[in-house]
Every structure is written in structure tokens, then in C-alpha cells.
Amino acid sequence: MHKKDLGLAVLIIIVGTVVYLRNPLFLSPINLGNTANLIGLFGLFAIGQGFVIMTGGIDLSVGSMIALLGVLFVDMVGKFGVPWPVAILAVLVIGTLLGLAHGLLITKLKMQPFVVTLCGLLIYRGAARGYTGEATAGFPFGTRYPALEWLTIGRTFGVPHSFYAMIVIGIICWFLLHRSVFGRHLQAVGKNEDAARYSGIRTGFVITTAYVICAVLTAVAAVYFAMFTRSVQPSSHGNFYELYAIAAAVLGGFSLRGGEGSIIGVVLGAVLLQELQNLVNLLGIPSSLNFAVMGTVILAGVLADQQFNRYRAKRRAAMALGILNRQASPPPQADSYPSGHHN
């Protein structure tokens, strides 16, 4: 665990303690269960966003994709009677294709990620609203899908399955990002795409894969969201979710310039965001201030982190100079070098 992640964890605990002291309901099983569910839902696609941000890119289409895929999933299962495993598979395949389209537009046609995914945001939202004719997509009244419901909104030991899903996917992604060859390549591409290419890394493949991972995790999240809300209102479902994902990643130590960040960080970022939402509710702060609270905390957090890093860099420079001044007395280094100098 990095120092950064540790700091975030401490912040989560401090905020939690304060909220608990003001309102003990915070630690009630009901509240914890609900919050865990939301953390799971938002954490799933925030992890995906992390992969894209690692490349120095961004995916703004997440929220709209959740709406579009949600509408499709609900309609497939509820309206057309497609068996739900097939429907999930279909949604995952569509997600893969959308991610592939983003990736190829960015790497092959050299378009900017912001532009590509901004257009995605508009197109998928429009497609969802057009397809449904602005009508809310829902399951027929009273129908039940026990296995699917158990998988998505069921609980084990009081913990919602969405949370377990995020943990499992988080662990897989942790290995993928921090321990695999692909992860190393991804980090290198994010930090310096040119140097990565000159080192023989297939940068186009690596970047495209990151967008595919993001879209697939978003598709998984879309299924969980659809089952959680039971109905999908195409014009509002998933609105601004991409910003939650980006905020979670930034809070978790990702740099929008790419190359920096950890899975633990982005998960903790998602936890903190939901904790703040919860804080607004529990402390009786008007919910209209919700976004303002979140924005303030993110700004303060990132600022504090940056100042801390600057302080550390300064101290390191001062130390290097101190060492050099102490070494300054013996003859210059270049002359003590063994090769040559028989003149």
C-alpha cells in the first residue's frame, strides 16, 4: 500500500468518525449495507476509468453508456424474454465493441480522447432516449429473476453482492495493473508514450485495451445499476457518473497526465465519495449542497497532496546539495576515473 493510499484511508476513517459522533446511525447495519452497495456500483466503473486515466486519456461516455446498456439489458430481459445470462453476455459484447471503437479512434485516427468520448457521451445518451422514445424501461410488474437478483442485489452476511463484485474485480485489476506485464506497459505508456514505443511496446494495443477494459467494467456496472433501480429512465439514468469515476480516480492519486495511480487508490476514492454523500444525508446538510461538498473535499485533498509532494522534492534537493558539499574537499571525481589519462 502506498503512502498516498494510506493517507486516503486515514481521511476516510477520520470523516467516518466525525460523522459517527454526530450521528451514530452512520454505523447502523442498514446504512452500512446501503453505502457498501453504492460503493460497489460506483467502484466498478471507477476502476475502469482508472485504466483509461492511466494512459493519460479520459472516458466521458461512462454515464451515457450505463444508461444505454441499462435500457438494452432491461428490455432484452423484461420485454423480449432473452435469458439473462445471454443478455449479460450481449451487454458485455456491446461494451467491448464501444470501448474498441473509442480506442481505435484514439490510437489509429489520432483523435483526442476527450473529443471521442465526449461524442460518445452525446451519442449513447441520444441513442438511449431515441430507442425508448423517452419512456422509462422497466421489468414487467411482478416478474422475478431469482438467480439474477441474488447475483446483483442479493446479500451475503449482510454485505451486498455488488460490493463483493467490486472486490473480486478490484483484485483481478490489481494484479493486472500492478503485477502483470500489461500493467507495466500501461504505466510506461502513460508516463512516456514515445519512450514506450522506442522500447518496443505496442502502444496502440495497450491504449486500446485500456478503453476496452473501461467499457467492459462500465457494462458490468450498467447491469448492476439496472437491477438496483429496477427501471431505467433514459434521460437521467447515469447522469454525471463519469465525473464520479474521474473524481474517485483523482482522489485516489491518479494523475490526469497519465502514468500514476493505483487500484487501491481509486477504490478508496470511490469509498470516500460515497461516505461524503452519506455525510450530507446524515448530518442534515441540504442535499442540494451535495456536489459542493464533494467538490470542496476533492479540491482540498488534491491541493494538500500536491503541496506535500513539493515539500518533499525541495527537501530532497537540499539533501543532495548537502551531500555534495561534504564531498567537495577531495579532488574532482572526473580525474579519479580509472580509464585512460596517461598523458
Binding site: V181, A195, P332, H341
Partner: protein
């Protein structure tokens, strides 16, 4: 130094200036005195600390320790404003002119003369004020000429006139002649002489030692961030300056080949690259030799190297590597075949600076340090540690960020990346640019070790002494084509240049 009879007085004194960046020390206890009306030449290799020193003088960078004394007043915290009010002006290598404006507008940019109630620009007054300054520097263009119409040399005169317009007392010229023709250089020399006569101090930074012999009153040399010595007017000679810059005679850096050149490792036959589709390239790199590739900037040397390495495309022609056809569509392909490139721009394309040293060393061959797609951190460290010892990379820990290393050690990390793999041919593009002398010697030694081990070595270099000293054979590129090849007895600066320019 200064005696009481000396009419000159120190305009500027730098006292024990040091500057450390994160982990890298760029300057260490440098002291310089600048007198009124003298031309002080500042010499040193790339990376010796000249640019850091100039940034400190310009107030852009703050020294970590030391003082700047101007007119006997000690300044703490020397900012851009203070630098300007002290009368320090820069004539930069890359000229800071705006070619969408005219000469007078450029000269008064940021301190425009205004008039009237609305404080609008007083174009007439500015042009009138600019004219006498332009005459003083011997410019033949007018104040209302658009800068887009000026040649590089004329733009430089404009910069000098601009320095005069802010009543500069110290003018710093950074490689002022690097893009000038001979006659333009002569004009500049006479401008420098007239500035000197007016009592203005000129700090003249140049790699062209003959110019320095011509115009400098004093030479100050920097080496690896430290003062390497001073020469007064009578001592300024080519050899003395080189010795100060590199700390020894040049010849001690090079070692001869251990055996005569053998079979061809890489051969190019009638090759055309996408970068220069009109130029035909034919040459061979032989076993056991360091092939130097010389040429003017823009002759297409880097483009050719990148085409061989798969960055850029080869349009037609045959390339064989150790007798087998070879054509890389991407760096990935080239690396698979054992063809490696040590690129010209270490920071942009050679290294992931923000990553750890060990990450960089293993970056091109992660498969070798991983099992089932998972990277073994201990294998990464072991491999990097091995290279650290073999190459003498000076660091306490291979887990440190590569950015913290000095230029020479960074270059060794790039080499470590390739030497830890199985090279068949290594292309070095400007391998010693901006690095210290000790590291240079080591890199030359490594190149020689590679050729002794049967690896092909192609060295692209713009440093004439390096090309002549290190290579066993030289090919010269001109406008994308091989202008000729020189064997050791034919080596001379004159012969290389003759081929590079294509004149007699």
C-alpha cells in the same frame, strides 16, 4: 584579478553559486566576476551547467545557495524583474521574436509607448525610438519592417538592439552564431566589439572556439557543474580551452579496435525511406568496427536510424541483418531481431524518466522477468542490479526514479536496457550529448566492448572530435544519401566537412 589602477569595475559578481534539482546537482560553488566593457566567453560541454547558470542570471531559476552581487549590492532572491532592472539582457539561441509584429513592436513588447486619453499605442514614437538603436547595431532594415521579412541574422541584431533599448549593461549571447553564415558572423563580431567599446559587458557562450579566440577578453570554463578554470587574453588557445572543458587530452578517451573489421552485420542496398523517398542509401556495418555516421544537422541521419529501427517506414530496398533479410515494421519487430536504438533525445524517447531505474532497464524485455504474465519484482531488481554494477550506474538504489540521475547515468540506464538483452546491432544516436566526460569515456569503452563481442555498432554524432576519435570508419550523409566513406588514415575534420557540405 582587479587592481586599483584598473579603470574597469566589476558589474556583476557571482559568489559560490550552487544549484541542485531533485537529486541532481547542476552547479557547485561557481564564482564569476564580470567587468564592464569586457567580453567574457563561457565555455563547457553540453550539460556542464552553462544553461543553469544563465537561467540564474535571468532570474528564472533561484540558486540553492550563493549570492549575486550587482554594483557592490548583494541581492538575495534574484528574480526576473531584478535581473532586468540590473540591466541583464539575453540574446537567445532560439530567438524570442514575434514574426507577426514589426521591428519596433517587437522591441517595445511589454513596455509599449502609449499616448492620449485612451492610452493607445504610439506607433510613431516607438518607431522613432527604435531607429537610432538599429543604426547603432549596424542594422540595415527599418523599424517598420515586419519581422517575418528578416533573416535569422537580422533578427539577432534586432534582439541586440532591443537589449540596448532597455539600457542593458550585460548582454548574454547564447550560441549567437550557430545559424549564421560566415559574413553574418563577421558583422556580429564587429557589433560585439562596438558594444564593448561602449562599456557594455558581453557574456559570450559558444562552442565555436575560433570565434572565442577572436573576440574574448577572458574565458571561463565549466565542467560537470564546477568551475574548471579561467584563461586571460594571452592564454586563449584552442587546445587550452578543450583541456579545460574535458579535463584531459582528447586522445585518452578512445581505444583502438582489437581486430580488423570482418563480415557485414547490417547491409543496406538501394534503400529509400519514407522520410526521404528520393535519397538512395547503401552502406554496411561490419563486425568488429565502430561505424561513425557524420553529416550536417538535417542530413537525415536520425531519420535513417529510425527507419532501420522501425519507427519510420522503409519504402523500398533490401536490408540484411547477419545475412538474413530484415525489415522492421515497428520497434517491436526490430527489438525482436536484436536491433536496438539508443535514441538522440534521451528524455523524450529513451527513458520513462518518472519510472524507477529498474523499470526502465527491464521495460523492453518484461517477458524475461515474469512468469505467467506476472512480473517478478525481485527478478526486475536483480536484472537492474546486474546492469548497475556492469555499467557503473551511480545510484544508491535501482528503485530510485530515473529522473534523479545525472545525464551520463541516465544514458547508462538506456544502455543497460539494451545490454541486458541480446543485441545484434546497436545504433547510438548522439550517445554522449549533454553528459559528463567520465560517462563519455565509459560509453566509448562500452561501444568498443560491443564490437569486440561481435555486435554491430553504428554511432551517429555531430561532435566532430567524437566522430574522428571513436569511429573506425566514417560514412558521411548529405541530404539523405551517403556522400562518401572515410577510412582511418583519411580522417580529418576537413575531409568530413567536405563530404558533409559537398564542396571542395
Amino acid at each position: 584579478m582587479m587592481t586599483k589602477e584598473d579603470p574597469k569595475r566589476p558589474l556583476l559578481v557571482l559568489e559560490n553559486i550552487s544549484k541542485a534539482y531533485t537529486g541532481v546537482v547542476a552547479l557547485c560553488n561557481v564564482s564569476i566576476t564580470v567587468m564592464a566593457g569586457e567580453v567574457l566567453a563561457l565555455i563547457g560541454e553540453n550539460g556542464a551547467g552553462k544553461s543553469t547558470l544563465m537561467k540564474i542570471l535571468g532570474g528564472v531559476v533561484q540558486p540553492s545557495s550563493g549570492h549575486i552581487i550587482i554594483d557592490d549590492v548583494r541581492c538575495d532572491g534574484f528574480s526576473v524583474t531584478e535581473s532586468q532592472s540590473a540591466g541583464i539582457a539575453f540574446v537567445h539561441q532560439e530567438l524570442n521574436v514575434f514574426d507577426n509584429l514589426d521591428v519596433a513592436a517587437n522591441m517595445f513588447l511589454g513596455r509599449e509607448i502609449r499616448k492620449g486619453f485612451l492610452r493607445l499605442l504610439d506607433v510613431k514614437a516607438m518607431r522613432a525610438a527604435a531607429e537610432p538603436l538599429l543604426r547603432r547595431v549596424g542594422a540595415t532594415f527599418e523599424a517598420d519592417t515586419p519581422v517575418a521579412a528578416l533573416s535569422l541574422a537580422e533578427r539577432q541584431l534586432l534582439e541586440i538592439a532591443k537589449a540596448l533599448s532597455i539600457k542593458a549593461r550585460i548582454i548574454i549571447m547564447d550560441e549567437p552564431t550557430s545559424s549564421l553564415t560566415l559574413s553574418e558572423t563577421k558583422t556580429l563580431m564587429s557589433v560585439v566589439a562596438s558594444l564593448k567599446a561602449e562599456g557594455i559587458a558581453v557574456i559570450y557562450i559558444s562552442h565555436r572556439l575560433s570565434e572565442i579566440e577572436e573576440c574574448a577578453d577572458r574565458v571561463f570554463a565549466l565542467r560537470d557543474g564546477k568551475a574548471a578554470g579561467e584563461l586571460c587574453r594571452s592564454e586563449i588557445h584552442h587546445d587550452a580551452m578543450i583541456r579545460m572543458m574535458i579535463g584531459r587530452d582528447l586522445h585518452s578517451l578512445y581505444s583502438p579496435p582489437s581486430r580488423p573489421a570482418g563480415r557485414s552485420i547490417l547491409s543496406l542496398r538501394s534503400v529509400r525511406t519514407r522520410a526521404r523517398p528520393r535519397a538512395l542509401v547503401d552502406f554496411d556495418i561490419h563486425d568488429g568496427e565502430i561505424l561513425g555516421m557524420a553529416g550536417l544537422v538535417g542530413a537525415g541521419r536520425t531519420e535513417l536510424a529510425e527507419a532501420i529501427f522501425g519507427i519510420d517506414a522503409i519504402v523500398e530496398g533490401q536490408i540484411t541483418l547477419a545475412g538474413k533479410p530484415f525489415r522492421a515494421a515497428s520497434p517491436h519487430d526490430a527489438i525482436q531481431a536484436g536491433v536496438y536504438l539508443v535514441p538522440e533525445d534521451r528524455k523524450r524517447t529513451g527513458l520513462v524518466l518518472e519510472a524507477a531505474i529498474c523499470e526502465n532497464i527491464c521495460l523492453a524485455d518484461l517477458a524475461a522477468v515474469s512468469r505467467n504474465g506476472l512480473v517478478s519484482q525481485s527478478a526486475v531488481k536483480a536484472r537492474a542490479e546486474d546492469q548497475r554494477i556492469k555499467l557503473g550506474i551511480r545510484t544508491t538504489d535501482v528503485m530510485r526514479r530515473t529522473a534523479e540521475l545525472s545525464g551520463g547515468n541516465q544514458q547508462k540506464v538506456v544502455l543497460g536496457k539494451w545490454l541486458s538483452m541480446r543485441p545484434a546491432l546497436v545504433i547510438f544516436d548522439e550517445p554522449t550529448r549533454g553528459i559528463d566526460v567520465a560517462s563519455k569515456a565509459e560509453i566509448y569503452r562500452l561501444m568498443r566492448a560491443l564490437t569486440n563481442a561481435g555486435v554491430g555498432v553504428l554511432m551517429i554524432s555531430s561532435d566532430m572530435e567524437e566522430v574522428i576519435g571513436v569511429s573506425d570508419r566514417i560514412v558521411v550523409l548529405r541530404e539523405g544519401e551517403i556522400a562518401g566513406s572515410l577510412s582511418r588514415p583519411e580522417f580529418s575534420e576537413h575531409n568530413v566537412l567536405k563530404l558533409a557540405v559537398g564542396a571542395n
